[in-house]
Amino acid sequence: MLTNALGAILATLVIAAAAFGMGGWMWRRLPSTFSRLDRLACAWLGGLGLLGTLLFLIGQFAFTRTAIFLTLGAAVALAIGLFVRQGKKTFALSVREVKIAALPAIVIAAVLIVTALGGLSEVVGGGENDAIVYHLLGPKVWLRNGIVRPVPDDCQTAFPVTAEILYGSLMAIGGKCAPGFYATLTLTMFFLVIGSLAVRAGLDYRGAWWAVALVATMPAAYFGGISGFVDVLYASFVLAAARIGFEAQSNWDYITFGLFCGLAMGTKYTGLVALAPLLLCSVLQMVNSKRGNSLLAMKRAGVAVAVASAVAAPLYIRNWILLGCPIYPPPLVLFPFFHVKYMGREALAGFQANVLNHVLWNALIHASSLGRAVEAYLLLPFNLTYHTANFNGAGGIGLAPLALGPFALIPARRNGFIRALALLAFLLTTLWFVTDQESRYLIPVYAMVAILAVIGWRYAGSVAPRFSPPLAAAVIACSLLYGLFMIGSSRLGDIHASFSNSFAQQRRQEHIPFFDSFESLNRDASVRSVLILDPSVPPYYCNKSYLKQFGTWGERTIPDASDLDHLLARLSDLRVSHVLDVNSGYFPFQLADHTRGLTLVFERPNQRIYRVD
């Protein structure tokens, strides 16, 4: 356990230093108006994204431990060189400049400590956990195979993987617990970007600390950044793009703006949707603030688009070459234009229906749904505050955005930056509403409305000084305490598992589907390659090489083996040594008793392992 913890901490420190090294060049290229906090926030985060992109490119040829260590070693050497050359003069943040506000700082520290302690435990879960299904499955398989390729039985491993590549590197250095602990680093970077954005929006450092504390205690935002989820990293890239893009003037400013747009596109497909609103707000802000005319603004936006496309291109071109379509799995509208491999039209239709119909899904599960009607759109601020479980955002975003956020729009009349921020939040929310209503995808907006809430808090206090300060204080206290309670109570199990071997083992037995079978397969030295028959079994827990005939979404991994009989006849060609057959509840056992060529070697309730004779 101690080894796992030390490995996770060391891996996170190495990635943090490597990100610093990779982002060093950006320090001087950011807009001249940026403070040291702004530079630290953007250069460190940008370095992390570039590190992920570089490892992805190298991983197309070799994703071995040697390749990873050499790449990270070079990036860490760059960071050391920067420190030695520039020293404290450039990098050290002036404590006097930042001015720590005690109460919000304690809240933020509490969230980070809970994340660090809980992150030292192993991520466990079943087929309902996206981290197990693909965020962590991809990196584990890439490391085992020594190359980065989409896992054939899960099309979601072909999603943009800038964050997942870093999980693979963390696993290579620090083992299976490292991605969990690394959330402490990504949350820290997220908070720094929010702080930078808040100060630029007109808040002093004290106000910025409060804005960060509000976001830190939003369970709906927090859970998108831990246990393998990549949404907080994606949100950080979008916010950093907004921070630079709304103040950009020179070509270099637009190059760095485009870089962050590209990193968002390389982290999640939703980055493609966010690109247009980011560009629009940046162009409007440039024209409105009279930093340039509309022609110049359009030219600079073109530079940003070119850079964003170049940064994200490797991921999309890889998909095009290997899977037949840059966006994989493709939306049905693209199906006629590309020769899509491994997935039929029906499988794609099922996948798309799932992606677009979280609303319907929630209606089935929670018996509550908002749909996409106009009244649902108008009620969105109310429902995002009081009924976030409807969007899989249990715990919500606190009260402050609804109670205080609207008042920020009044001082915003005189502040172009706040106007641009509010417009971006509105556009992103509208696009989210008409596409996939999953709470995690709205994290950039949650951060923006928290900043607006603190601005509104200040305004309400100055305009209605009699009762609004105690009322606003109650709103902030409710938001922080409720969020802390939700986050703390949900992570108690993780923290317990970090410190108790017996509890960690008990949790593994309870939460890992078909735990006994995976234990047996992983322990048995004679197991070379496993055929998993049930598409719903999460193969993340299998430490040996494996094969699935069909993936969860109907992916066909062996096109010339159309049914089970054909597959069983080819077992020796496929070098399969063992077969795992389960009764999952979704599918019954698939092998009849005494199947020829197979010997039953392990049996538990609903689980059977056969050896191939």
Binding site: Y386, L399, F407, V463, R466, F467, S468, L471, V475, Y482
Partner: protein, 53 residues
Amino acid sequence: MKPTKLYSLNPRAAWLWPLLIELWIGVVLVLFLIIRVLGSNMARHALRALLSY
């Protein structure tokens, strides 16, 4: 043109805007207490236990 402040357009209504702000914050707070605290499963269980006791 000199910019005008929203709450100074009509001096007789100057008290209205602060009151609206306070009302809005108060309503959001009360709704939170009703929906998320008193309406939570934990509160329902506690109330049921209290009534059965």
